[in-house]
């Protein structure tokens, strides 16, 4: 048993979780006969042998593909399910946002639900009364507070759920961003609240598919897959490994097949080093000579794509046939991308189809105050420098 938990909010040791999968459509008599003849239901191992610690006042980001066991992990920390084996210590009041409006009773009004949620955190009604105004204000739902939650819109439910969880000042907040948050604009505003909470000593565990968010805001990251810890530690390292793992299986260039890719990679260089740049900073993309197709091409397109496949930035330039026999660079003075992870692509369009050279680029906010914002697709002047290798 793990005894010393000073300074730790959550400690898990060799935690495993098995689910029994049973056919629920099976009738009573059938299941009785199955039981009598010893036919066991199938076992699904959702988590196996998970161990990690989170210090108080830290933010842990959990990444992994769908079905990796991320939600099960949060449910175990929240106490919703018990581990099949292993030990865990959770110190403090835990609030969880694992589903949209998770702790809400549909037939009760927003106000009654606030008291109910407070009671679930062990907060008395009189104590909860003190923070009810700030909850209503933060949730921004106005008169709907006295209407049953079942008539709320998705956004209202998400906002109220978040406001309750944050304003009750839990010691530990568990958030499954992939399903619990409906309204993106509200969620981005909520990120500030996480930082306020953490500065007050709270601990946050965040499940997210937003890798750049985890890199920028978390103190540590945990990559789980198939119910096992693949990698854990500094978020930059874990995210990098995660991306490398998946870019091998699925090239970041969204268009073109494997053989259309040039032999070499597009090189990304900025003051931050290789493969990353500041938002609004300058950045150079270099296409090595061996990556330029030797076939005839008419048009060269330079574009960034997000991991969703959308194009926030496109620049196209026509060229003469013999111009790029050697390496060339594209310099962007002011990188017009919000912080995040992108794929930079240079596409050579010829008569025989496209040839893409691409690489990943991580864009960091210039300072912590930079707001996340969605930028429209814009055309941007770029400078193409011809260099004779």
């Amino acid at each position: 048993m793990i005894n010393e938990f000073d300074g730790y909010a959550i400690r898990l040791k060799n935690v495993s979780k098995n689910y029994e999968i049973e056919n629920l459509s099976r009738g009573f008599l059938q299941s009785l006969s199955h039981r009598m003849y010893g036919k066991r239901s199938r076992i699904f191992q959702a988590l196996s042998d998970i161990s990690f610690d989170i210090k108080k006042g830290e933010m842990l980001g959990v990444i992994g593909p769908n079905g990796a066991g991320k939600s099960t992990l949060l449910k175990i920390i929240a106490g919703i399910v018990h581990p099949t084996s292993g030990n865990l210590i959770v110190e403090g009041r835990v609030a969880s946002l694992l589903e949209l409006g998770a702790g809400f009773h549909q037939e009760l009004t927003g106000r009654e639900n606030i008291y109910l949620n407070a009671a679930m955190l062990g907060i008395s009604e009189s104590e909860a009364k003190g923070s009810i105004d700030s909850i209503i204000q933060m949730a921004d739902i106005g008169e709907f507070i006295d209407v049953p939650v079942e008539v709320y819109s998705t956004g209202m439910r998400a906002r109220l759920g978040f406001a309750v969880a944050v304003q009750m000042r839990p010691d530990i907040l568990l958030v499954d961003e992939t399903i619990a948050v409906g309204d993106i604009a509200f969620y981005q505003r909520s990120l500030k609240q996480f930082e306020v909470m953490i500065s007050n000593g709270a601990t946050v565990v965040l499940v997210s598919h937003d890798l750049s968010l985890i890199e920028q805001r978390c103190n540590s990251a945990l990559w789980i897959e198939g119910g096992r810890v693949v990698s854990s530690g500094a978020p930059q390292v874990v995210v990098q490994r995660y991306i490398d793992h998946y870019s091998g299986a699925n090239p970041l260039g969204v268009s073109g097949s494997e053989e259309n890719h040039g032999a070499g990679k597009l090189m990304v260089q900025s003051e931050l080093g290789k493969g990353s740049a500041y938002c609004g900073g300058s950045c150079t993309f270099r296409v090595p000579g061996e990556s330029i197709p030797k076939t005839v091409f008419k048009k060269v397109t330079f574009a960034f794509t997000t991991h969703h496949g959308s194009l926030p930035f496109v620049a196209t330039f026509e060229t003469e046939l013999d111009r790029f026999q050697d390496a060339f660079s594209i310099r962007v003075r002011l990188l017009p991308l919000p912080p995040g992870q992108y794929s930079a692509n240079v596409t050579f369009t010829g008569e025989n189809g496209d040839c893409v050279v691409s690489n990943r680029i991580l864009v960091y906010p210039h300072d912590r105050e930079t707001e996340f914002s969605t930028m429209p697709v814009i055309s941007f002047p770029i400078e193409v420098v011809h260099s004779g290798e």
């Binding site: 048993m1 689910y19 029994e20 049973e22 009573f28 299941s31 929240a78 106490g79 919703i80 399910v81 018990h82 581990p83 084996s85 292993g86 030990n87 865990l88 210590i89 959770v90 110190e91 403090g92 009041r93 835990v94 969880s96 694992l98 589903e99 998770a102 702790g103 009773h105 037939e107 009760l108 009654e112 008291y115 109910l116 949620n117 009671a119 679930m120 062990g122 907060i123 008395s124 009604e125 010691d171 000593g201």
Partner: protein, 289 residues
């Protein structure tokens, strides 16, 4: 930062799950209170007569049963004489009916409250025993109005007696007996919904297998398949609660030690087994729902 002692959750597989659940239940007393309050607020939601129903409902039942079983089926004739020359079928019936309602409504209420809370419990953590006990407490308070009506009726018709104070322990013990049965059935009802249906059928049988609408001695010498019916009736735990409450109301006698011991042990056994079954089976049922 100050951290309350009770907010540290250590999950140790070696710890007794029954004690763990009991600890959690005690840590969340506020939640039980909030849930019980909510139940009481919503029992008579959108109803014109509201709380009047908790008086009207038993009185209406009493009236119907008095007419059907008293007048039509001539229950009046077989009613024994009570204290102070009392010989009234409705009063004889009313005492038993209060016990029956306490048992049947609380056991069903506890069972269904578990089913109703499972959805919420699978999304956010709280000790589910809080929801179950909240339903028990609110049900108990609603039914408590009935014992006030019962004692009131006896005071008006027969006059005051000290034995009327013993209605309360009889009612509480019958309630705990129902709570225990409800806890035993709660998890099984989720695993197989048939349990709930079977239980409601069983309750109908049990109603007639309890001496509510007839006195015990009516069955003297009657047999079903070579079983003496009056002996079979004694196997029904509720019989003892009904006999007990009739002693203290209709006959105005203080029940003997053996009668006390019997209903005390019945309700504590029911609670112990109910709690044991609940702690043993409910976690699995919650996770698989």
């Amino acid at each position: 930062m100050k951290i309350q002692k009770n907010s540290i959750r250590i999950l140790d597989k070696n710890q007794n799950s029954s004690i763990r659940e009991l600890n959690e239940f005690l840590n969340y007393k506020g939640l039980t209170k909030t849930l019980a309050k909510r139940n009481l607020k919503t029992v008579y939601n959108r109803s014109f007569l509201g709380w009047m129903w908790s008086v009207l409902h038993p009185l209406a039942t009493l009236l119907i049963y008095s007419i059907v079983f008293g007048k039509i089926l001539n229950g009046n004739g077989s009613v024994p004489s009570g204290a102070e020359g009392l010989k009234s079928f409705p009063m004889y019936l009313f005492s038993a009916l209060v016990i029956w309602n306490a048992y049947s409504e609380l056991s069903v209420g506890v069972m269904t409250s578990f089913a109703n809370s499972i959805n919420l419990r699978s999304r956010v953590y709280f000790p589910i025993s809080c929801a179950v006990f909240a339903s028990f407490i609110s049900g108990f308070i609603v039914l408590g109005v009935e014992i006030l009506v019962l004692v009131g009726a006896y005071l008006v018709i027969v006059g005051p007696s000290l034995t009327f104070f013993l209605v309360l322990p009889a009612f509480i013990l019958a309630g705990f007996f129902g709570l225990g049965v409800g806890l035993m059935l709660a998890a099984a009802n989720i695993r197989h919904r048939d349990v709930g249906h079977l239980y409601s059928v069983f309750l109908r049988l049990l109603f007639f297998m309890t001496p509510i609408i007839y006195p015990m001695n009516l069955l003297d010498g009657k047999k079903v398949f070579a079983f003496d019916l009056d002996k079979v009736l004694l196997l029904n735990p509720l019989t003892h609660f009904v006999v007990f409450i009739r002693e203290v109301t209709y006959f105005q006698k203080i029940p003997g030690l053996s009668q006390w011991a019997l209903i005390l042990s019945l309700s504590s056994l029911s609670l112990i087994f109910g709690w044991g079954a609940f702690v043993r089976f409910s976690p699995k049922v919650i996770e698989n729902s």
